[in-house]
């Protein structure tokens, strides 16, 4: 029982160990995956913030230009933007422009001034009387104005107005919500946004909101297409990340600013984890939502998760270990069983004739001695019968040993059937057999058995294609009349058999 439980115990322990290692490895893999995902999200956030800071710095340059000159100088701005040489690194910017803050009382003078500059078609639009206006008075590169004329009153558009108000009141950069840029056709809705910085009258205090409102001259701005902004982020985003940006905190088609082609709101399962995150970025006072999900490629970029390999290998090794334990544990038992079996076989071989399976001389002698002891104790009698086949040698010579052997086997079978159940029959020579008949009630019983044997052997034998006829001579010795020990009894039986063989009329003789 102990050895039977051992393999199960080993299997349970090995599987338990496998489970522990697999769990640890899976947890380590998950932790690494999550840490890498967190890092990738943080990296993306950082890039967006730094990129926006770079753009803000660029627009601050325009703000500083006007602070230096003290007026919204058109030529200075054009020269400044030309000098910037906005290359592919700044491809996110669609245009840099100036919005003038215009109380209603200054509108007519403003229109006159703009026309004096050669802008004969200049009007403020949308039309209508308002207490203040905020028309775009310059765009650079100037070509952009071919797409949308100057004079658009940005104050009339709520999203732009909100950002302009924040820039005015804070004195700092303010990012607008999602807009369609004025330079974009209405049919091509490319999400965009605008970064505003206020311009105040030089030398005037601007420490409070009231002072800033009182001394506002206008705004400088940079407008962007969101897709170009994302393209201008430093370097590629981490592989296997699908990314989307939404305006403000509600995720909807209306607020969508940008999404990567493989973006899916439902993240894929990696190592049993669904890695996704929404993070709210506050950029120049405005909130964007960054939505990030990890795809299959994200995990593959980190290297293979070894936990499945550990599980499969661990289970296989556990089974092998259990089998090994079973082999080791049961080896002694199996060896003992084999030894006993082989001992029994050896013992059988030592005591039996290999051809007929009958007891050999040694076993017969042993049983004869047992019977002698029993008969002496009980003053009983028994018989020893010697039997010799007649004409066996000619058959052997004529048909060969193989046929002779088969004949001996059939003779043995017939002899077994002819004797009593309690009798022992053995083969002691080539064609010589011996029968021990214990507990013999009368001498005639031995003669009857001898006759029964002779009759059985007289029947033809069919061996292969040959029909063979044999006979036998039988000699009988009775204890204690014909001998009182093994030697005398076997000698008497042997002599009787030879007498019987010599006499054709008395094939069965008693000593």
């Amino acid at each position: 029982m102990r050895w039977r439980l051992l393999p199960l115990l080993v299997l349970a322990l090995a599987l338990g160990l496998t489970w522990l290692v697999w769990t640890h490895e899976r947890e380590r893999s998950r932790t690494a995956l999550r840490a890498q995902f967190d890092f990738a999200v943080r990296e993306t956030v950082s890039r967006v913030e730094q990129r926006m800071a770079a753009y803000e710095q660029l627009v601050r340059g325009v703000q500083a230009l006007f602070a230096t000159t003290g007026r919204l100088d058109r030529a200075a701005l054009r020269t400044y933007v030309d000098t910037l040489q906005l290359d592919a690194n700044f491809s996110g910017i669609q245009d840099i422009g100036v919005v003038q803050h215009l109380p209603a009382s200054d509108k007519d003078q403003h229109l006159t001034e703009m026309r004096r500059l050669g802008l004969d078609d200049y009007v403020i639009y949308p039309e209508g009387q308002r207490d203040r206006y905020a028309p775009i008075i310059q765009r650079e590169p100037e070509l952009r104005s071919a797409l949308a004329p100057l004079g658009f009153d940005a104050w009339t558009e709520p999203v732009r107005r909100q950002a302009m108000e924040r820039a005015r009141d804070s004195g700092m950069a303010a990012l607008s919500g999602k807009v369609r840029l004025a330079v974009d056709p209405a049919t091509r809705a490319t999400p965009g946004f605008i970064l505003y910085l206020p311009v105040f009258q030089p030398g005037q205090p601007r420490d409070s909101v009231a002072q800033r409102r009182a001394h506002l001259v206008g705004w400088v701005y940079a407008s962007f297409h969101m897709s170009d902004f994302v393209a201008s982020l430093y370097g590629a985003l981490a592989p296997g990340l699908s990314v989307a940006f939404f305006d403000d905190v509600v995720l909807s088609d209306a607020s969508l600013l940008y999404r990567s082609t493989d973006y899916s709101a439902e993240p894929q399962t990696l190592a049993g984890l669904k890695l996704s995150a929404n993070e709210y970025l506050v950029l120049a006072g405005h909130t964007w939502t960054l939505s990030v999900s990890a795809l299959k490629e994200f995990q593959s970029s980190l290297g293979r998760d070894t936990s499945p390999v550990i599980a499969v290998t661990g289970i296989w090794l556990s089974l092998m270990l259990a089998v090994l334990a079973w082999l080791l544990g049961t080896g002694r038992d199996r060896a003992l069983r084999l030894a006993a079996h082989m001992t029994e076989e050896l013992r059988h071989m030592a005591q039996h004739d290999s051809l007929t399976g009958l007891p050999n001389r040694a076993l017969f002698s042993d049983r004869l001695n047992q019977e002698l002891s029993r008969a002496r104790r009980h003053e009983d009698q028994f018989a020893v019968m010697f039997l010799d086949l007649d004409n066996f040698k000619p058959i052997n010579d004529r048909f060969g040993h193989a046929v002779g052997d088969l004949l001996l086997q059939q003779v043995a079978r017939r002899l077994r059937l002819a004797i009593r159940e309690s009798d022992t029959i053995g083969r002691i020579g080539g064609d010589e057999f011996v029968v021990l008949m214990p507990e013999l009630a009368a001498t005639e019983a031995a003669l009857n058995v001898a006759e029964k044997i002779r009759e059985a052997l007289r029947q033809p034998f069919q061996i292969e294609d040959h029909t063979l006829l044999i006979s036998c001579s039988v000699g009988i010795a009775i204890y204690p009349d014909d001998g009182t020990d093994e030697i005398s009894l076997t000698k008497s039986a042997d002599q009787a058999m030879y007498r019987a063989k010599a006499s054709t009329r008395e094939p069965a003789a008693r000593s």
Partner: protein, 260 residues
């Protein structure tokens, strides 16, 4: 009252001690960054406690200091790299101590602002309910218990990060998050009827955490740090720090914050 008098005396004596430190040497233009956070600083109005503290420090030092507004996470990165000299209202931890030095000037506790409809009555209720998400400003650290809560929820993927307070209030109202950690500087937002009606406040059972001027160890020598620390101590000792806080809080609240 006696205890407070003794405290003020000790503070004044301490100020005498630090007054021995040399005034900052204005060898270059320094940089200081503010972050938009409730009463500490509002970018919408360009006002706040941190701005007033910065103005006073600049005035007392006589140095040229460029002030900018940055996300808090960016501020810590720049302080660590040495690209930024100062920021304000920072708290420390072992990791930050390696790259930043501090000059404390107020201390406050932290609170969990939680939606009433969550049924949360104590901190364990929030942690135990897997459906609840916590809104956290990226890189912010809090008191020990609050940090432990944030770290546990982050491990369970139940934290939503933001670059500032405003989106957290918005998403709390929208029920995208169910809780956020606030400080006394965030009380004005609670004045909004809608937010006040749907939320309740649970206090973290931690001692008040000191906040102070953050100085980059990479950018400022130990001597320079000591001279700026002396300026802060001077502001505390002569009552100017408390006066700044009294512009934004009731006197007893201001006193509680700056007397620690």
């Amino acid at each position: 009252m006696l205890i407070r008098s003794v405290f003020c005396l000790l503070l004044a004596l301490g100020a005498l001690g630090v007054a021995q430190a040399a005034a900052p040497t204005c060898s270059r233009t320094f940089t200081l960054a503010l972050h938009d956070h409730g009463l500490l600083y509002s970018a919408d109005t360009d006002t706040g406690i941190d701005k007033d503290v910065a103005d006073e420090l600049i005035r007392r030092s006589g140095c040229q200091v460029t002030v900018s507004v940055l996300p808090r996470s960016r501020i810590w990165q720049l302080i660590e790299s040495g690209a930024l000299d100062f920021s304000l209202s920072g708290i420390t931890n072992p990791a930050r101590d390696k790259f930043a030095a501090f000059a404390w000037y107020f201390s406050n506790k932290y609170y969990l602002l939680v939606r009433k409809d969550t049924g949360v009555r104590q901190l364990a209720d929030f942690e135990g309910n897997e459906r609840l998400r916590l809104g956290v400003i990226r890189s912010f650290r809090y008191s020990d218990t609050a940090n432990r809560l944030v770290d546990q929820l982050h491990h369970d993927d139940r934290v939503t990060l933001a670059g500032g307070l405003a989106p957290l209030y918005q998403t709390l109202l929208l029920n995208h998050i169910q809780g956020m950690i606030i400080e006394p500087f965030d009380y004005p937002a609670l004045g909004e009827k809608k937010l006040r009606e749907i939320t309740s406040i649970i206090e973290f059972n931690d001692p008040a955490v000191p906040h102070g001027l953050i100085m980059s160890r990479q950018a400022l020598s130990a001597t320079e740090q000591e001279s700026w620390r002396a300026l802060v101590q001077g502001m505390r000792a002569d009552g100017s720090m408390r006066r700044i806080f009294e512009k934004y809080f009731k006197p007893d609240m201001a006193a509680m914050l700056v007397n620690f």
